[in-house]
Amino acid sequence: MTIAQPLIQARGLVKRFGDFTAVDGIDVEVRAGEAFGFLGPNGAGKSSTMRMVGCISPPSGGELRILGMDPVRDGPAIRARLGVCPQLDNLDPELTVRENLTTYARYFGIPRRVARERAAELLDFVQLTERADSKVEPLSGGMKRRLTIARALVNNPEIVLLDEPTTGLDPQARHLVWERLFRLTQQGVTLVLTTHYMDEAEQLCDRLVVMDGGRIVAEGSPRALIEEHSTREVVELRFAADSQEAFAGKLDGLGERVEVLPDRILLYVADGDAAVAEVTALGLVPASVLVRRSSLEDVFLHLTGRTLVD
């Protein structure tokens, strides 16, 4: 395998469901060893893209190559080298935790003895050894998620696809999952994940694309995206209720961009403290002031808007 060859390559990739276009001509390249993220609001087309990459959803148009192969013609050969953690856990409810791993290994043609060893290692890796002989149903959401991730690793995949790996998990469980995924990247496994959590994208992704309405609206490393689409710092000013608009007019020209929200005003500026000094010099006295570094969330909201998409 040549290093230069991207593991996943999409050009003008389209997915339609009847009249609805879920993915509207995207170009993506994922290289070996990187952690690549699809960031976007619900309905942006992230999951549809992941299903196409996972070779369980035929593209409606465009070009898609995975590991140098055609997902429609070479589906089984590609899937043999992928690990998939779907958005909704589809563990086998009739099997125990351990059997879920050994049985899944058998679908890949892994010999029984190796499957048992592999299951033991993976249970240890996701900290489920103590629950090995439990059924799946009584497990907590976080445990099921970890088991699904372990299952995705059972065939020692070259690419692991994770569709919203931590949605619905409590903070402890999220951090454990992040830590395990980080370890995988350290071992050279290529990760492709979708998320709508900014902190997750910043934590895990070397590179990401922001999707909205089936299209890619931005691409780059988390750092580069913040630099390109936001300012270095953000000042959050709160004035008395319902008076934000009135004050906002006076802040025009301050910083690169002023955004007025119902409960606060955001100033996108290079130097937060200097901006606060200017606000004070104007004679304005906000109820509270917060200076923070710009985050991927600012980029995300700037690019995809604040309107609820559900």
């Binding site: 050969a77 589809n90 563990l91 049985t103 290994a105 679908y107 043609g109 299952r151 065939n155």
Partner: protein, 269 residues
């Protein structure tokens, strides 16, 4: 530890191996309660045999078959019970269980993410259903031999025929299950199954029906199954069993094809 340390684990031996892994999954999921279900499936045809074959048979007396052979009513009914128990065993596995796995357990959504393909899932499930059907058949044949309703040689010949019947109904059931929308639809299927059970030359020779009805009956899969197995059990001569075998083989192939096509469409969204 995890990841790149182990050598590439994936071997690629093809479809039979992948189908077997699906059947193996079912074996792994076997729990003690299942054996009770298995037992009840065996018991049902035996009860019919005793109540109708022996009980009603005492009132009916002997029957003269179209070939001129005279057999006891129990010997006439027993092969039909064998055929219908092969049908029931296979259908239970490929309709109820298959539908539940696909629609509610989302089992196949997990499996299609591996190299296993819909056709291989269908084949694996069918192979598994056939194992269950074969167990019923073998046990019932033993009962028939012990009761003197057929010879040992005929029983040995009838066994693969019963397995074929299981295959055909299993494939048919799986194809039907892919069209089911909810559990309610299974009531319809249950009625169809019971109608077949009553009127497929099981308790009365098809020759006893009016001509039009008789033709309709002779087209049904259970009639062909009963005809095949009864022919073997009572030692009928002639080549009409070839038609039965061809019919059941075609039904198996068509059922599998339809089932895997439908599964592909439902799963590869």
């Amino acid at each position: 530890m995890v990841g790149l340390v182990l050598p590439r684990l994936v071997s690629f031996e093809g479809a039979p191996r992948r189908s077997a892994s699906v059947a193996e999954r079912n074996f792994t999921s076997l729990k003690s309660a299942y054996w009770l279900v298995l037992f009840s499936g065996f018991l049902e045809p035996v009860l019919y045999l005793f109540s109708i074959g022996i009980g009603v048979g005492a009132l009916v007396g002997d029957l003269t078959l179209p070939g001129g052979r005279v057999v006891s009513y129990a010997a006439f009914v027993a092969p039909a019970m064998l055929a219908s128990s092969a049908m029931t065993g296979a259908l239970a596995e490929t309709t109820f269980n298959f539908f539940g796995k696909m629609k509610y357990m989302k089992l196949y959504d997990g499996i299609i993410a591996t190299p296993v393909q819909p056709f291989e899932i269908a084949l694996g499930e069918l192979g598994w259903a056939m194992i269950r059907g074969s167990l019923y058949s073998a046990a019932f044949l033993v009962v028939m031999v012990v009761m003197g309703l057929t010879g040992v040689g005929a029983a040995v010949t009838a066994f693969p025929a019963a397995v074929l019947v299981g295959f055909a109904f299993g494939a048919l059931g799986m194809a039907v299950a892919t069209f089911m929308r909810s559990w309610q639809d299974f009531d319809l299927m249950g009625s169809a199954q019971f109608t077949l059970f009553l009127f497929s030359g099981t308790f009365v020779p098809a020759e006893a029906y009016p001509a039009v009805l008789r033709w309709a009956v002779e087209l049904t899969p259970l009639y062909r199954s009963v005809h095949l197995i009864r022919g073997i059990a009572v030692g009928a001569s002639g080549w009409s069993w070839l038609l039965d075998v061809a019919y059941l083989l075609v039904l198996t192939a068509v059922g599998l094809l339809v089932a895997s096509q439908r599964m592909g469409r439902l799963l590869y969204k």
